[in-house]
């Protein structure tokens, strides 16, 4: 099969031994790459019940068949591991030059085992891998680390992925940073890397990756670019980036506001939405191998953060640090974003945790004394920024906040778990499910916890006209959305060009043939997705998850939205129960969420038991 190298680099940081793991064409065809191959590898290579922060946990970096091929959006990679935040399956995606460089070095990915005796980094090249000491960069932030490593001879155009102090300090939602402003953000993959004392991975390859018909890929890109140029969706996305989503979620009543107490926030308009952010945009850029330049380079023009630049902020950060904390200062959000990127925290979880702390403070469950004198009031810029530093360095109560909102609620008590907005320990992203019930189902059944990347139901329930406050048909709707994203995330392409050029899956089948030389049908894609989702379910079941973990916080289930189009709505326990029944049935799982014998046969997973 063209487009893949057919092998992974397996590195044991404890012993220093390395080896190669072959990937048979049959396996590549069944799982494609990314999420699909990651599911197979994690299930097979990780011993059951492994402690996520132990030397037995493994960290897998994977590329996909399109990596390096110039298919739009194909500069993604995924990090797969067992999450220290949830104790379950974790896949976290990022763009980054490292994906291309790993492949040019001759590998489809990395499997990293063990724990080094001293801080180290990996230097990967055509000749293999060196484990180098990292004493000089341990403790530095991600930006300094990347700058230092790129300054070494031969590394000028290398891909670098690194952790900041948050990863070193094992914050449960630490991220992995690449190309300065790109993060594998969710689930605490940076903490796993920190536990392994692995500060960074540097890759610089020089091999040519063989593709079946590169000329055909170029022809398809030309045609698709012509299609994109006349698309208003493409133009709007390229101009405003993801901040336009804030206008949409506010209007649709699903914008997280004041720790998900409300679904709209008028004060955001013109300040931290598309209009507000656009005033600070200095340039647009796209990822390598993409022509959707949806990334915004912003700069703070005045005030105490004057001159601060960022690639961002993205919608999620605007939602979680803006409306969710009642902060309407774009400079503050940019500063918070830069702090999180440098120090190595996921902005979604961090904004969520700080919002929770602010509500606890408001309710008298958390005191300024516990927070080193900080008054955690909603809207307080300084408290927000100071809390980030407390979390990263695990100072005072920051040590608890660093463990995520579920653990923080457990420690605080007093019924605070009712408004700890998480599923399976992963903090909610910036969509309130009470305004679109399918999001509630999607969050509840997501194997990595509350996640907007497995499915994006507002596309159907608000943009698409599917009734948002009903439950009928939502199981199949979410199954279908999961399958679609599973295909993108296994091919390892960004779903932005797919949705905003737009490129339907039929186009990806054409690209697949051009890249690999193999034809693939839509039915094949769907089978791969069903197999992958079922295998991930089996992984979580093996680790002790049950149907009881597929649930939502009290606030989402029982507190009606007080404002917006969804005023008076909450998801409700019975609604959720029925939607989950429906979803399991559509996936071929029984009422307990266990894949049936027939499903295992259908997906050729019988031997996995």
């Amino acid at each position: 099969m063209k487009g893949i190298c057919g092998k992974l680099l397996d590195v044991d940081l404890a012993s220093g031994r390395t080896k190669e793991i072959g990937i048979a064409d049959e396996t590549a065809a069944k799982y494609l790459g990314g999420r699909g191959l990651g599911a197979r590898l994690l299930f097979d290579l990780l011993p059951a019940k492994t402690d996520p922060l132990s030397s037995e946990n493994i960290l897998i970096f994977l590329t996909g068949p399109f990596t390096g091929s110039m298919v739009p959006g194909s500069s993604k990679f995924v990090v797969v591991t067992k999450s220290p935040l949830t104790g379950g399956w974790c896949d976290s995606y990022s763009s980054g030059r490292i994906s291309l460089e790993i492949k040019k070095a001759g590998y489809d990915g990395l499997v990293i085992r063990g724990r080094a005796n001293h801080p180290c980094y990996l230097q990967i090249s055509d000749k293999g891998v060196e484990i180098r000491e990292a004493d000089r960069i341990w403790g530095k932030d991600s930006f300094e680390t990347e700058t230092t490593l790129k300054g070494l001879e031969g590394n000028g155009s290398a891909g670098v992925s690194s952790i900041g102090p948050a990863g070193e300090n094992l914050c449960s939602y630490a991220c992995i940073n690449s190309d300065f402003y790109r993060q594998a953000g969710r689930g605490g993959v940076g903490a796993v890397m920190g536990y392994k004392r692995l500060k960074a991975i540097v890759a610089k390859g020089g091999k040519k990756v063989e593709y079946h018909d590169h000329k055909r890929v170029v022809e398809l890109n030309r045609a698709n670019y012509e299609r994109a140029k006349v698309s208003q969706v493409f133009q709007a996305r390229s101009k405003y980036g993801t901040p336009l989503t804030l206008n949409f979620t506010h209007t649709g009543g699903i914008l997280p506001t004041k720790n998900f107490q409300f679904g709209t926030w008028e004060k955001a308009l013109g300040k931290i939405d598309s209009v507000g952010v656009y005033k600070s945009v200095k340039a647009h850029r796209s990822c390598q191998s993409c022509f959707v330049h949806c990334s915004l380079i912003t700069e703070v023009a005045e005030g105490k953060y004057k001159g601060t630049t960022l690639e961002g902020p993205e919608y999620e950060t605007l939602g979680m640090f803006g409306s969710n904390l009642l902060i309407d200062s774009l400079p503050t959000i940019i500063q918070a974003n830069v702090l999180c990127d440098k120090l190595g925290l996921d902005t979604i979880s961090t904004g969520n945790v700080i919002g929770f702390a602010m509500e606890c403070f408001e309710k008298g469950l958390l005191t300024a004394r516990q927070m080193d004198g900080l008054e955690m009031k909603f809207g307080d810029d300084e408290a927000c920024l100071a809390a980030i530093e407390m979390i990263v360095h695990r100072r005072g109560f920051g040590d608890i906040l660093a463990q995520g909102v579920r653990e923080t609620a457990r420690r605080i008590g007093g019924g605070s778990d009712r408004f700890a907005m998480q599923v399976k320990g992963l903090e909610f992203p910036a969509y309130d499910p009470r305004g679109a019930f399918g999001s509630g189902l999607s969050y509840a059944v997501s194997p990595r916890g509350a996640c907007h990347r497995r499915a994006w139901p507002p596309a159907k329930e608000i943009l698409g006209g599917v009734p948002p406050f009903t439950i009928e048909g939502k199981g199949e709707m979410i199954r279908g959305l999961y399958a679609e994203n599973c295909i993108f995330h296994s091919l390892l392409v960004c779903d932005m060009p797919a949705k905003f050029i737009p490129l339907p899956l039929d186009d990806y089948a054409i690209y697949f043939e051009a890249v690999t030389g193999l034809s693939i049908s839509q039915a094949d894609f769907q089978t791969m997705a069903g197999r992958t989702e079922t295998l991930i379910r089996m992984f979580n079941n093996r680790e002790g998850f049950t149907r009881a973990d597929d649930t939502l916080p009290y606030r989402t289930l029982k507190e009606p939205l007080p404002d917006g189009p969804g005023k008076g709505q909450c998801v409700g326990e019975e609604n959720l129960r029925r939607m989950i029944d429906d979803f399991y049935s559509c996936q071929g799982w029984d009422a307990a969420g266990i894949p049936t014998e027939a499903t295992l046969r259908k997906y050729d997973l019988k031997n996995t038991l």
């Binding site: 969706v233 101009k239 980036g241 209007t251 596309a459 943009l463 698409g464 932005m496 917006g564």
Partner: protein
Amino acid sequence: MKVIVNLFGVEVRLKQEIFVEPVSPALKSVVKSMKEQGVGQLERFIDDRIAPVDGSVILVNGRNFLSLDGWETQIHAGDELTFMVPVAGG
């Protein structure tokens, strides 16, 4: 009557107050009246046959008109109409 209009597309326009005098309070009639008035940029979302352009979406007070009563959705003074290209997420 006065309606509040948002446009989310290649240009973003927020909270424009538009006075319309539709033949009936049905959404289709209101939009037709807006077209006749030449509300700026509306042609990017709604063509002259009063059909959505490029899959554009109309939200009435934040709800997709298709999940309400479609073109027959009754519009009242002060209602908020949002015209948007189907671009969101992230």
